[in-house]
């Protein structure tokens, strides 16, 4: 398979993740606009159904990720996440020369998804929904946010190693299990720092928000680079150590 086709597949896969996943977060904020929130820790997601709001957002991510993996996994591998690409590269499973093209594809797909989502829904998706951009919640420090993202991505990468990378894994379950794992992580850690687990998933909404006159959140971006990459790399090396 040519690198060009794999580039397109990675971009499309990340597009699906951001359009439907981050889009669900934006829609939740829009439909909860004006709803009273009993505690400052609640910024709107959770105002409608408590943790059920996060579960719904998590399921949107889960199903979009599963679809992307089953549809595009054979073509590009469907990493759809720079942290996953870097973790596979760090453990010498992915060629160095393809790391940058894969990450560029993921960032491109995520950005296009956020722009198209804004075009689909309108400017309220930017001004109210923030295009589903992630940021630390009230009371959460920069360090805590990095820790939450790292722990969440640690579980995601551990699942990828066990259910997909390991040749002993039963075939056919990877897409479903990995999608549901992301859904579960989002349900628990979404209200800490947004549970991005993926630098591209945060990059797309950030860029589109800025281009369309929304909030400028770039000061938080290091959280979503350091946390996910650290968590994914540690998980990949730990899995290799445990299974060696």
């Amino acid at each position: 398979m040519s690198l060009a086709k794999r580039f397109i597949a990675e971009a499309v896969g990340t597009f699906l993740l951001v359009y439907f996943g981050a889009g669900a977060a934006a829609i939740t904020l829009m439909i909860s606009e004006g709803a009273g929130t009993p505690v400052p820790f609640n910024i709107g997601i959770g105002a409608l159904g408590g943790l059920g709001d996060w579960f719904a957002i998590g399921m949107a991510f889960a199903l979009a990720i599963s679809a992307a993996i089953y549809a595009l996994g054979r073509i590009s591998g469907a990493h759809i996440n720079p942290a996953v690409t870097i973790a596979l590269w760090a453990t010498r499973r992915f060629p160095t020369r393809e790391v940058v093209p894969y990450i560029l594809a993921q960032l491109l797909g995520a950005s296009l998804a956020s722009l198209l989502f804004a075009a689909t829904v309108g400017m309220r998706a930017v001004t109210v929904g923030g295009l589903g951009a992630t940021a630390p919640f009230p009371g959460i420090t920069f360090g805590q946010a990095i820790l939450a993202e790292a722990v969440g991505t640690f579980l995601l990468m551990l699942a990828i190693m066990g259910v997909a990378v390991d040749e002993r894994a039963p075939p056919g379950f990877a897409g479903l299990v990995i999608g549901l794992t992301v859904g579960g992580i989002i349900t628990t850690t979404g209200n800490i720092a947004g549970s991005s687990l993926n630098p591209a998933r945060t990059f797309g909404p950030y860029l589109a928000d800025q281009l369309l006159g929304g909030a400028n959140l770039w000061s938080f971006f290091p959280i979503y680079v350091i946390g996910p990459i650290a968590g994914a790399v540690v998980a990949a090396f730990l899995y290799d150590y445990l299974s060696s």
Partner: protein
């Protein structure tokens, strides 16, 4: 083992292979041997076609059923 399809025609020929689908013993005249591509990978690595293929033997009824369309 005798060829099942020959036996149905009243002939008595030895079977040289077994159909992987129905398990029927078949002679050289009643089998189709084809090479099947083997793919490796899929997630999180792109699938790639291996250089070598795997042989597959089917009886003629099973082969025609698979290739009906």
């Amino acid at each position: 083992m005798k060829c099942y399809l020959c036996a149905k025609e009243g002939k008595d020929n030895d079977a040289v292979a077994i159909c992987i689908v129905c398990g029927m013993g078949v002679c050289m005249d009643h089998l189709v041997r084809e090479e099947v591509e083997v793919w490796q990978g899929g997630y999180p690595f792109p699938a790639k076609k291996l250089k070598k293929t795997v042989p597959r033997i089917l009886c003629k009824p099973c082969y025609s059923a698979y290739h009906e369309d």
